[in-house]
Amino acid sequence: MKSRMSLTIGGALVLLLLVTALLSLVWTPHDASHIDASRQLAPPDAGHPLGTDQFGRDVLSRLMEGARITVFAGVVAVGIALLAGVPMGVVSGMSGGWLDNVVMRVSDFLLAFPALLLAILLAAVYGTGTLTAMVAIGIASAPGFARVSRAATLRVMAGEYIDAARLAGRSRTAIAVRHVVPNILDVVIVQASVSFATAVLAEAALSYLGLGTVPPTPSWGRMLQESQDLLFSTPELCLWPGLATAAAVLGLNLLGDGLRDRVDPTLEGVR
């Protein structure tokens, strides 16, 4: 019952995020980058339901376009981390021995390397931009996935059904795909939902530092940064992107929890 609730609420919030991002591709109330010097810091009215910022840009439109960046950031970062980290962890956990040592030391090295430094490095080589920033975050998150999936793989490999699969003549790849991955899915899903949330926050932080999304493209992180100076005069300006980020992160975490319980057949009766 509880997990169904989190699945529903999480799903609804994430769906809202996706729909907003998609909608912004075809329609926003105003041009999000259009500067209207006559309407700086206007309070909400019929034309601008959330008002305008210090450059007279429509806040709602910017929020909608920002959702695009948020989704993009999360998908890129988590995708990279997932695709690199999970195979690393599974191979490491299944093989043991020197290969395990090598893979884990590489992941330790990455873990010790500050994500921010990596982002600066990549920005210096490839230029600033959301994609570069998110590739950096993705690479930096991969060791976390590797660690988590390795620990889960070790637990699975200790099970007698792995021995049974070996006796059934299954190849190592088949064991990895058919037995290990389905059984570590629960921890990977939770890790993914947490990483997605981290990536959304990291995008905001990097944009704030000028290493992420380039102006005038709106992102929730940039909006937060830009409204920071006006915190005391017009606090609602940072309220909107803050709330949106919080809702997206909460939605992703709830969805992750709900999905984890969903993929566990032993909880079927409980649900």
């Binding site: 021995d163 699969a165 037995h179 389905p182 059984n183």
Partner: protein
């Protein structure tokens, strides 16, 4: 023994979880110095009864009814935790099943023993405390008690740890000792030592014992009186000799019949499975598995009786063996299995050795090696059933893993299926049944995919057909194919595992403690299944078990392992009757036997 008011009086005890009633009104007494056994299978409520009596139930479980201890004002069921603390450890001691988890790994054994003394009154000095602990350990016949008192739990063997737990329980000379499956995790020889200590202490000091076990034979060698529990109720009670020689309740009768693994008789398993507490029908909980059940059983039978015991059954007066429970049959041909004159062994091991690197003595010194298995020779012929017995650490599991090719030998070799020079893993290959029927089935796969795993064309219609055929062969319905492992009981899961192992028609079937995780009432079902399934196709079977009764029932040849070496091998019956090696003799002597004496006061004895 029964003079005066009882020491422990339990009246109408109930335990409820959120949704279901787990213990459904249990009442009994324990007299001073009396040893009472509670027998039951998993889910019968036997452990909950004991835990509830001490107020040790987990959160989420609620107890009702009343539990009174002589000389105490309060009712232990409704007493506060604080009030109970004064009684627990002081007047009532408790011994748990797992000696490792009952001890705190970061404290020395002596400290843990004196903690109990310290908590209840006297505050001995450090030295006096150590002395007291050592003295207790000496009383429990632990060699070098001073050293044991200084040791940490991980430095002690299972038997030593359980003595430590026993020492903690006995530290304050309690009036009542509650033992919850105290020897289930231990080897048979150690089991005997521990139960002897419990009985000895009870005789000397007049400690009453509440002894919980699923093992009828063990209870019969320890207790005066026995309570048989089923579905959260006591179904029969009485003096041990009466209950075991003339059981009245159909469940007790069936349990006795199915526990008797003497070759030559064919213990028919109790049909059906032990029901989960939530699945119990109204009226008599056993009626759906009972041969005598009729319409009357829809009404709950009361527990009625006198001094010679009580029984809760409408039909307890039906005499003799129950129809369909026990079928004596001719002694089986298996007892005299002979090596085929012309045959080649299907699996053959020569000089099989497994060593592990041990701990370095000096920091930079060479790593010594520890031999787990030492030069084992073994031939397995088609249709032969070999049993490997030995205590924990004897190398049984290592041997089986080497035979299966799941581990590499340090020396020697295995010729046979799955090996160079032998047939592959498909038909005519080698398969294995594991100990833990939950751990050996992938929880994320449906039974259909689990059973089909060793088949060559898993997805094909032929494979699907074969799966249904196999499920039928192990006595599972067709719908089972679509379900997940957790939806089955332990015995059913082991059948699924057996179906998977039999799927490719292997020439060799290895089984690692196949029934040790199962309830007594389904044990015989699984053993029979293993026997008939292997007999049908002349499959060679190699079973390891710590339970000599299982080996004797199932196998024709036995191999006794001790510390990685084979000490004796031969036909089961001749080894059973006339063991040549003193270790085998010791093993056999330690096996608890069902004592069904003619009169009172008989000693435990070993079957011929």
């Amino acid at each position: 023994m029964n003079a005066g008011p009882p020491l422990l009086e339990v009246t109408d005890l109930t335990v409820d979880s959120q949704a279901t009633r787990l213990v459904r009104g249990v009442g009994f007494t324990v007299g001073r110095g009396e040893r009472v056994g509670i027998i039951g299978e998993s889910g019968s409520g036997k452990s909950l009864t004991a835990l509830a009596a001490l107020g040790l139930l987990d959160d989420g479980l609620r107890a009702g009814g009343s539990v009174r201890l002589a000389g105490e004002e309060l009712d232990l069921v409704s007493a506060s935790d604080r009030a109970l603390s004064a009684i627990r450890g002081k007047r009532v001691g408790m011994v748990f099943q797992e000696p490792m988890s009952a001890l705190n790994p970061v404290y020395r054994l002596g400290t843990q023993i004196t903690e109990g003394i310290r908590l209840h009154g006297t505050r001995p000095t450090r030295r006096a405390g150590h002395e007291a602990a050592a003295e207790l350990l000496e009383r429990l016949k632990l060699p070098d008690p001073h050293r044991a008192a200084r040791a940490y739990p991980h430095q002690l063997s299972g038997g030593q740890r359980q003595r430590g737990v026993l020492a903690i329980a006995l530290a304050n000379d309690p009036d009542l000792l509650i033992c919850d499956e105290p020897t289930t995790a231990l080897d048979v020889t150690v089991q005997k030592e521990i139960t002897d200590l419990i009985v000895g202490d009870s005789e000397q000091r007049g400690t009453a014992v509440l002894f919980i076990s699923h093992d009828l034979a063990l209870v019969s060698s320890v207790c005066h009186r026995v309570l048989v529990m089923y579905g959260g109720r006591i179904v029969e009670s009485g003096p041990v000799h009466r209950v075991l020689s003339a059981p009245r309740h159909p469940y007790t009768r069936a349990l006795l019949a199915t526990s008797d693994l003497t070759p030559g008789t064919r213990p028919r398993a109790i049909p059906g499975i032990v029901p989960a507490p939530g699945d119990l029908q109204a009226g008599c909980g056993f009626s759906n598995r009972c041969a005598l059940a009729d319409d009357k059983c829809a009404e709950l039978p009361p527990l009625l009786g006198g001094a010679e015991g009580a029984v809760a059954c409408w039909h307890h007066e039906v005499p003799g063996a129950l129809p369909g429970v026990r079928q004596p049959s001719a002694p089986q041909a298996q007892a005299s299995w002979e090596r085929p004159a012309d045959g080649e062994p299907v699996l053959s091991a020569r000089g099989l050795t497994r060593r592990y690197p041990g701990r370095r003595v000096r920091r930079l010194g060479r790593r010594p090696t520890v031999s787990v298995l030492d030069s084992i020779d073994l031939d397995l012929y088609a249709g032969q059933r070999v049993g490997v017995v030995g205590e924990s650490g004897a190398g049984k599991s290592t041997l089986l893993r080497l035979l299966a090719g799941l581990d590499r030998p340090s020396g020697g070799r295995v010729l046979g299926p799955g090996r160079p020079g032998g047939p592959g893993r498909g038909a005519g290959g080698l398969q294995m049944v594991f100990q833990d029927p939950m751990g050996s089935l992938d929880p994320r796969q449906r039974v259909r995919d689990i059973v089909a795993e060793p088949l060559p064309h898993r997805g094909s219609p032929a494979a699907r057909e074969r799966v249904l055929e196999l499920l039928a062969a192990v006595g599972l319905p067709e719908e089972a194919a679509g379900r997940y492992p957790h939806q089955f009981s332990g015995g059913q899961r082991q059948r699924i595992a057996i179906a998977r192992a039999l799927a490719p028609e292997p020439a060799v079937l290895l089984a690692d403690e196949p029934v040790s995780a199962l309830d007594v009432s389904v044990r015989a079902q699984v053993l029979d299944l293993l026997r008939t399934a292997t007999a049908e196709r002349d499959t060679a079977l190699c079973v390891i078990s710590h339970d000599l009764g299982v080996i004797r029932y199932l196998c024709d040849t036995v191999l006794v392992l001790r510390d990685g070496k084979a000490v004796e091998t031969g036909p089961v019956e001749s080894v059973w009757r006339a063991p040549k090696h003193p270790y085998t003799e010791q093993l056999l002597a330690a096996v608890p036997q069902l004592v069904i004496p003619d009169g009172e006061g008989s000693e435990a004895r070993r079957a011929p």
